[in-house]
Symmetry: C2
Subunit: 144 residues, 2 copies
DNA sequence: CTTCCTGCAAAAGTTTTGCATTAAC
DNA sequence: GTTAATGCAAAACTTTTGCAGGAAG
């Protein structure tokens, strides 16, 4: 089921000279299981006592390997999710009040238009974009 | 020149029961002068010794009053800019390497389509959006 | 004269690092 | 056997808070 995922992650870690240990596998599993980006305390609680230093270090390694992506909310802990190319391209609903981040997809036409705007901006400014981020900021259902 | 700006900021502060002191005026002046969001250390250096506690407090007050907006990069200090309705709607080019944030505007058609997607997402998910954030992530000209 | 702002210092909260031990290859 | 991962504890870094004095309305 998640076999292909683990293989891909392992490859990416190897490419950066890192090992795919059982702790890292469990971490990827936790991220793959969650429907939304997971905050650090939730990962600490969920993984039955993986110490925070290892957690942060593993998240950092996985991020450098391009397997995990970090989402920074305005307040509090960072949240982590699998890299987009391991799941599917999506965007975020960020709650101003409680900080939760919820995944959402937007119409394909909008994505296309963002891509078009990207190349326009690149040639106009000299900035070289590798990705985009389109978030809606507001209040989640429970905070509204 | 910036008279209208200061009047507007003063109104918004009053509306929250806050005063528009000379330090806050200087802060708004500094933000209005910069073409890009300014990081905290730059504000500390620029304002000839405004202590960091007052700086953070004033930024927080101005943000609550809706006069200033906080931009959170992936690493390091937060950056601040004037609220969008005091300048003009724009987006950001965020450099992955050095963290700088550069303002950019995108074609109006894209903005319209984002608004359309917003209402679609709101009715589909129950999330109530108050604004959106569309950033391009990549490498600025000097880091490329 | 009452309320809010300021500045200093110290605390808080999140993330990173040093080091000895253990596990992976 | 060599190199890297782990876990503990302590440090680092950004931001927030307490409190005494000063300024604004």
């Amino acid at each position: 089921m998640t076999g292909k995922l683990h293989m891909t992650v392992e490859e990416r870690l190897r490419a950066v000279g890192q090992r795919y240990t059982s702790k890292r596998r469990a971490l990827v599993e936790a991220l793959a299981t969650s429907p939304n980006p997971v905050a650090v305390p939730d990962l600490l609680a969920g993984d039955r006592g993986l110490p925070q230093s290892s957690l942060y270090r593993n998240l950092s390694v996985l991020e450098q390997a391009g397997a995990v992506h970090r989402v920074v909310p305005d307040e509090g802990f960072a949240r982590y999710e699998l890299a987009e190319d391991l799941t599917q391209h999506h965007h975020h609903l960020v709650c101003r009040s409680c900080g939760t981040v919820q995944d959402v997809t937007v119409p394909r036409g909008l994505e296309r238009q963002v891509e078009r705007a990207r190349s326009e901006v690149e040639s106009r400014t000299g900035f070289s974009a590798v990705s985009h981020r389109l978030d809606l900021i507001g209040l989640c259902r429970s905070c509204a």
